[in-house]
Structures are given as structure tokens and as C-alpha cells.
């Protein structure tokens, strides 16, 4: 437990003696401003969205006509629309695969950073930081140039290697579109994963590892039975974050769609909501999908949140 607490950055016991109970209301009073800001900033839009999702709300309503309240009509339309389920399945698959690949590469990077000499590590860290700090739109512009079907470096290199990739359009086929999107999203999120796991790794005490090595544990065994269990809380929370981020991925997909591909075949939940709301001015339907995504996210992360809470308690 000690190591876990260390990893999570919590102070270890001994606990300070509890201060005498003075006014019981003081803590609540102190919490009120924070809660008020949360309710205003997060609650209001959420409530608005929920209400809108139960109305007919289009361009005319935006220009002042009173919306008609239709209860769950929008949701019924939504859930009976096969296209919606296609998008959901596509998003889930994309998010899980991307998160898994990101975690795998991120973990390997972290282990690499832990193993190499300081100067190499710092070079590695700087390059990771640069990728992480790159504004998404700028990075996407460069990626778009790389994969450009006529003059892109990628096709040129592959053709140079003797493969027939002359004027190959990567974005036209949905599968290769998502492959490209995945590479880009992974490239952008690996640094965060690598740094966080590296921070976790620095908390694994060398004594434990040395002891295991003396007992004859191989590298794989040490990784599996010692390192991973110790940094598991870090892995769990990072995976959770990745899943949530990759589920609502928007910018990368949207910017790729601007370059090529047929939008209806490459929409993920984020771009689908955008197309409904901003493109078609169907704000009610867009709200309904957003609420559904919220529920989906909570459902996906519920398992993790619960297991993390449990570990905190024990």
C-alpha cells in the first residue's frame, strides 16, 4: 500500500491529530464557492443540453421561435437509426484499439527512458515534449502534407522502396482512413502516457527489483510480477483517460475529413454530433447524441472508477 500511496502522490501516515471539531458548518461553507462554480460552468450547459435534447430545436428555434417539447422522441429516432449504431460501434472500436496501442507504445517508451543513459533520456523526453506541445491544427497540417495522395512523403517513400503507392489515396478507404487517424492520435497521446508511466516507474524501489533479480527473476517476470502491480494505479488511470479522450476524439478526424474521405463513412461520435448540430442545425438531435455519449463514457469508465475507489479504500 505504501508504494501505491507514493505513486498517487499522497502523504503517508503518521496522520496529524485531528483538530477539535469547531463549527461543523465551516467545511461546507468553504466548499460552497467551488461547488457553485462547478454547477454554473458544468451544470448549466448540461441541463440546457438535456432539455434541448427533448425538444424540436432547429434553425428556426435558434432565431427565436418557441421550441416544441417532445419528451423522448429524439432519443427514439436516434436509437432506431441504424446509422447511429454504426457510428457508436465504429467509435468504440476506434477508441479501444487506439487507447490500447497508445498504452503499449507509451509503456515501452517509459521503460526505455528508465533504462537508458541520462543524456539519451533527456533527448527522448525533449522530443516527446515537442510532440506533446505541438498545437493540434499545426500538427495536422503537417500530417496532411505527409499523407497527401499526390505529393506526400509517405507515398514517395513507399514507392521508392519498390511498392506501388504512386498517387495512393489513404483517406478514400475508411479502413486506411482510420489507420491514419489512429497513427496520428497515438503519436499525439504517447508522450503523456510515457511521461506519466515513467513518473510511476521512478517510484518502483530499486531494492525490490534487485532482490528479485538475485532470486533469479527474468526481465519479463520482473516486469509482470513486480513493476506492473506496483504501477497499476497509474496504468489504470491513464488507460481510463485515454479511453475517454479517444472516445471523444474530434479535431484530428474533422481535419482529416476536410482533406478527404466521405464524411458519412468516417464519422465518429464527435464529428457526428458536429455534423448534426453545426452542419445540419439540428441542435436537438445533436444534444441527444451528446447526452448519449456522456452516458456511454460514464458506463465505460464506471468499472475503472469503481475499482480505483476500492483500492483507495483498502
Amino acid at each position: 500500500m505504501t508504494t501505491q500511496n507514493l505513486v498517487l502522490g499522497q502523504a503517508d501516515p503518521p496522520r496529524p491529530a485531528r483538530p477539535r471539531k469547531r463549527g461543523r458548518s465551516t467545511p461546507y461553507l468553504l466548499v460552497i464557492p467551488a461547488c457553485a462554480i462547478l454547477i454554473l460552468a458544468l451544470g448549466y450547459p448540461l441541463v440546457w443540453q438535456f432539455i434541448t435534447s427533448m425538444q424540436r430545436f432547429g434553425l428556426s428555434q435558434q432565431f427565436g421561435q418557441p421550441p416544441e417539447f417532445v419528451w423522448f422522441d429524439n432519443y427514439v429516432t436516434l436509437f432506431t437509426d441504424p446509422y447511429m449504431w454504426t457510428v457508436v460501434a465504429r467509435s468504440l472500436a476506434f477508441c479501444l484499439v487506439t487507447a490500447a496501442v497508445t498504452m503499449a507504445i507509451g509503456t515501452l517508451m517509459a521503460l526505455l527512458m528508465n533504462a537508458v543513459h541520462t543524456s539519451v533520456r533527456i533527448t527522448l523526453q525533449i522530443s516527446l515534449l515537442l510532440a506533446w506541445a505541438m498545437p493540434v491544427v499545426a500538427a495536422m497540417t503537417v500530417w496532411n502534407w505527409l499523407i497527401d495522395w499526390r505529393r506526400g512523403v509517405l507515398n514517395s517513400v513507399l514507392t521508392g522502396m519498390g511498392l506501388d503507392f504512386q498517387n495512393h489515396n489513404w483517406l478514400a478507404n475508411p479502413l486506411s482512413f482510420f489507420f491514419v487517424a489512429m497513427v496520428i492520435v497515438v503519436w499525439m497521446s504517447v508522450p503523456f502516457v510515457a511521461f506519466s508511466i515513467y513518473a510511476g516507474l521512478t517510484q518502483v524501489s530499486t531494492e525490490v527489483l534487485e532482490a528479485a533479480q538475485l532470486d533469479g527473476a527474468t526481465l519479463a517476470q520482473r516486469l509482470r510480477y513486480i513493476i506492473v502491480p506496483i504501477i497499476r494505479p497509474v496504468l489504470a488511470i491513464i488507460l481510463l483517460l485515454q479511453v475517454i479522450w479517444d472516445l471523444r476524439v474530434f479535431t484530428q478526424i474533422r481535419l482529416l475529413q476536410d482533406v478527404g474521405s466521405i464524411a458519412s463513412e468516417t464519422n465518429l461520435l464527435g464529428t457526428y454530433i458536429y455534423q448534426l448540430g453545426v452542419g445540419s442545425s439540428d441542435f436537438a438531435m445533436a444534444s441527444a447524441v451528446s447526452i448519449f455519449v456522456l452516458v456511454l463514457t460514464v458506463a465505460l469508465s464506471w468499472f475503472y472508477v469503481r475499482s480505483m475507489l476500492k483500492e483507495d479504500e483498502s
Partner: protein
């Protein structure tokens, strides 16, 4: 805490005062009616189509006539609909006057985004104004948005490649269809992925010309209810011709949209060896494209102007431009490009906004539009376009051009990319009628804004 709040409030007030001071300071020195001296109205222009010279004229003329200040803000075409959707209903953030695409005009007019300017209609040009655009800005018999300028689409070719393939400039649509297929098959310069006619799979804005040219319609209206008519007989004839073009004349990607296709006509990207001989593929990969007439500024030999900016110089030995021919001796009806302009219904200065419209529809400004290659809204001033080959192609193709349906939901159709999706499926379709029927079912409720 209280003191902090108080000082914050003081700071806010002070800065508000200072800012207010700034804004009134800029109005000093206006000579005309001083009543308006502290007023500013905002004009949104879409994209960079209106040249700086015209913007400067509008600003100075507006101040001279009214004493108020005109603030011109340029918006991107890409998110114009979004910005209009969020800004127009909000009196504090709305532009007073805004330009918007002619096809977007009917949607915003129908939801009541614009001020009724029927009383000015005669004064601003009346029936001399381009009627198809006027219709797109009408509800019932009231005028809300009026034409700003028009463009049209023309065919741009590599005359040298056409000549090398031995194909003459066509005089009918059928000759055109056969001609570009022949050039595609001949590929006289042996260019990989060469297109006799580069037509992107999702490029419906150019593709609908074939529907219109065969007397097809995208949608018809009866008693106020719109019906999508992709599966009607004439439309299907056009779609079949398009399918043939996609198969035999175009190697453009299936996901390519109507965007800068003129770059495929330029050959300035040749890779040359020491002797100057071409060693590698050039960027030239199409013999023919269709684009708005102003695209001629982007076609030709690469050079630099006095400021070092890249320019293109049209080369008559290599390039040609003509209106897409129809089968009845007239130019084929192509999709009319261009903009409408309207006053926001929530504008706080409608009178000043009306003054701005008077300037825009004045002879002087209309003439300036024409001199810059933008078709003037008022037909009396179309002569100002000049008579070079581009003006001729513009006037010829515009003479028979058509707009997309003026249905309340048309902006929604564009925003949801359904037309792009439909066109991308034409080439691979084995049953065009069933495909058209499928999209009719999708489009009809959207057109009616349901």
C-alpha cells in the same frame, strides 16, 4: 474579500471607460452629419472575393455619406453558416449587414434572420437585379436578401493537351463527354493517373451541370412542399452521363471535392535535369477541369509580382476557357456561384445599414465589382466586366446558369454533406435509379426543414 471585489469592480469600470474613450476618439474628424459620429456598423464579407480596393471605397464612401464608421470583417466560407447561426439572432453580436452564399440565403431568409427590405427593392435596382438570386432571398412577396455579385462556372482546359490528343473544342455536351473520354484514353503525355476531365467524386457543385443540362432538377416545389427529384427521368439521364464520365474520363479520387482542381492544370512543378529536360512527373494531371470563372487567376505560368508574391500568368498557347456547351446550342446550365447580401433583423442601426446597401447598389460600386471580375448584381452594369475571354465565358455560362433549390432546408442539405455522399456513390453504382431513390427519401424531409 470585499475590498478586492470593490477594486475589481473599479478596475472593470475604469477599463470600460478607457475603452469607450478609445472608440469615440477614432470618430474624430468626420465631416458629415455629426449625429452618427459615434456610430459604427459592421459588414461581414465572406472570403477574400471582394478586393481591398472595393472595401476601402465602401468604408470611405460610407463615412462620407453618413458620418458613421463602417467596420468590415472577413469571414471564412467554411464556417460562415455556423457563425451566422450563432451571431445573427444576437443583437449584441450580429453583423448589421452580411454577405452569404446564394444557396445559403433561402434558409436564413425563411427563418427570419433578415430585415424586410421590400420598400427599398425598386430603389436598389428592382427587376434589373439578377432574378434567380432575388428569389433565393424572398419569402412570399417580400424581399429580405438581395444579390451581391454573381460568378459562374466555366470549363478550363489545357489546349496543348487537347491538341496533342487531336480533340477539337466541343460545341455540344455530347461532344464534350466523348472528347474528354478520348483524351483520357489517349493520354498524350503519358502522365500517371491522368484525367481527361478531372471531376472529384464528391464534387456535386460541378457535377449537377449534367443534371441541369439534361433538363433534370434536384427538387421541385408544389404548394410549398419540396420533393427531391433525383430519381426523375431527366435527372437520371444526367446521372448516367456523369457515371460514364467518372468511369472513362476522370481519375480524380472518389473523395475529392470541389476544391482548387485548377492546380492539376498547371505544369510548373516539372522536375528538370541539368539540360532543362523534364525528368520526372509534372503536377499536370488533367486536361480539363470545371471551376468558377475567377479561377483563371490561378492558372498559367508561375511568376512573381513586384512584392515577390507568386502569380500565375495565363498562357493562351497552353490554356483555354469556354462555357460548358449544352445540347441545344446554348451553354449548358451550370451552377451559378455568387452571393447575396442582407440586413440582420436584429441590427441596432437598420437605417445606417440601409445607407450601406444604397452605396453597394450605386452605379459606381456595381461598376467596380464588374471591373474586378465579379458579376454585378444589376444587369445594367454587366458591361463593366469587359470583353476578354474570361468575361465572355462568364457572361455566356451565366446566361443560362441555375441555382440549387430555394428550399428552406437547403443550407441543411449542404451542411450535412448528403450531396457529397450521393455523388461519391455514383461511379460504383450498379443501379442508379435505386441509389437516386434512396437519396430522394433522405433529401425530401431535409429540404422542407423537417
Amino acid at each position: 474579500m470585499k475590498r478586492k471585489l470593490a477594486s475589481l469592480a473599479a478596475l472593470a469600470t475604469a477599463s470600460a471607460l478607457v475603452l469607450a474613450g478609445c472608440s469615440s476618439a477614432t470618430d474624430e474628424g468626420t465631416d458629415a452629419s455629426t449625429d452618427n459620429g459615434d456610430k459604427t456598423i459592421t459588414l461581414w464579407l465572406a472570403g477574400g472575393d471582394t478586393p481591398d480596393e472595393l472595401r476601402d471605397y465602401l468604408k470611405s464612401e460610407f463615412t462620407a455619406q453618413t458620418g458613421a464608421t463602417l467596420n468590415i470583417q472577413q469571414q471564412d466560407w467554411g464556417d460562415l453558416v455556423t457563425k451566422l447561426t450563432t451571431s445573427l439572432p444576437d443583437a449584441n453580436n450580429t453583423p448589421d449587414v452580411t454577405e452569404l452564399g446564394n444557396t445559403q440565403s433561402s434558409t436564413f431568409t425563411n427563418v427570419g434572420a433578415f430585415l424586410d427590405i421590400s420598400d427599398m427593392y425598386e430603389e436598389l435596382g428592382g427587376t434589373n437585379l439578377l432574378q434567380s438570386f432575388v428569389d433565393a432571398g424572398m419569402v412570399g412577396d417580400k424581399n429580405y436578401a438581395l444579390p451581391y455579385y454573381f460568378g459562374s462556372r466555366a470549363v478550363f482546359t489545357r489546349a496543348d493537351v487537347w491538341a496533342a490528343a487531336g480533340v477539337e473544342q466541343p460545341t455540344t455536351l455530347e461532344e464534350f463527354n466523348a472528347g474528354v473520354a478520348a483524351i483520357n484514353a489517349a493520354n498524350p503525355l503519358n502522365i500517371p493517373d491522368f484525367s481527361g476531365f478531372y471531376l472529384g467524386g464528391q464534387d456535386w457543385r460541378n457535377g449537377i451541370s449534367w443534371i441541369f443540362a439534361n433538363d433534370g432538377e434536384l427538387a421541385t416545389v408544389k404548394d410549398g412542399t419540396w420533393t427531391s427529384t433525383l430519381a426523375s427521368e431527366n435527372t437520371l439521364t444526367g446521372l448516367a452521363q456523369l457515371q460514364e464520365l467518372y468511369k472513362s474520363a476522370s481519375n480524380a479520387p472518389n473523395d475529392a471535392k470541389d476544391s482548387n482542381q485548377y492546380i492539376y492544370l498547371n505544369d510548373s512543378d516539372e522536375i528538370k535535369d541539368a539540360e532543362g529536360a523534364v525528368t520526372s512527373n509534372t503536377s499536370l494531371s488533367a486536361a480539363t477541369i470545371m471551376a468558377p470563372t475567377w479561377a483563371h487567376w490561378s492558372i498559367g505560368t508561375l511568376g512573381t509580382d513586384a512584392d515577390g508574391k507568386a502569380t500565375r500568368t495565363w498562357d493562351d498557347t497552353k490554356n483555354a476557357v469556354f462555357a460548358l456547351p449544352g445540347n441545344d446550342g446554348k451553354p449548358a446550365p451550370v451552377f451559378a456561384g455568387g452571393s447575396n447580401i442582407g440586413i440582420s433583423a436584429t441590427s441596432k442601426n437598420p437605417e445606417l445599414a440601409k445607407s450601406l446597401l444604397r452605396i453597394i447598389y450605386s452605379e459606381e460600386y456595381q461598376t467596380m465589382l464588374g471591373q474586378n471580375g465579379l458579376g454585378p448584381a444589376n444587369s445594367d452594369y454587366v458591361d463593366s466586366l469587359g470583353d476578354d475571354q474570361f468575361a465572355q465565358a462568364l457572361i455566356a455560362s451565366a446566361s443560362n446558369s441555375k441555382l440549387t433549390p430555394a428550399a428552406p432546408g437547403w443550407a441543411t442539405v449542404e451542411g450535412s454533406l448528403v450531396m457529397e455522399e450521393f455523388f461519391s456513390k455514383i461511379e460504383g453504382s450498379t443501379d442508379l435509379k435505386a441509389l437516386a431513390k434512396e437519396y430522394d427519401d433522405k433529401l425530401t424531409p431535409m429540404l422542407n426543414g423537417e
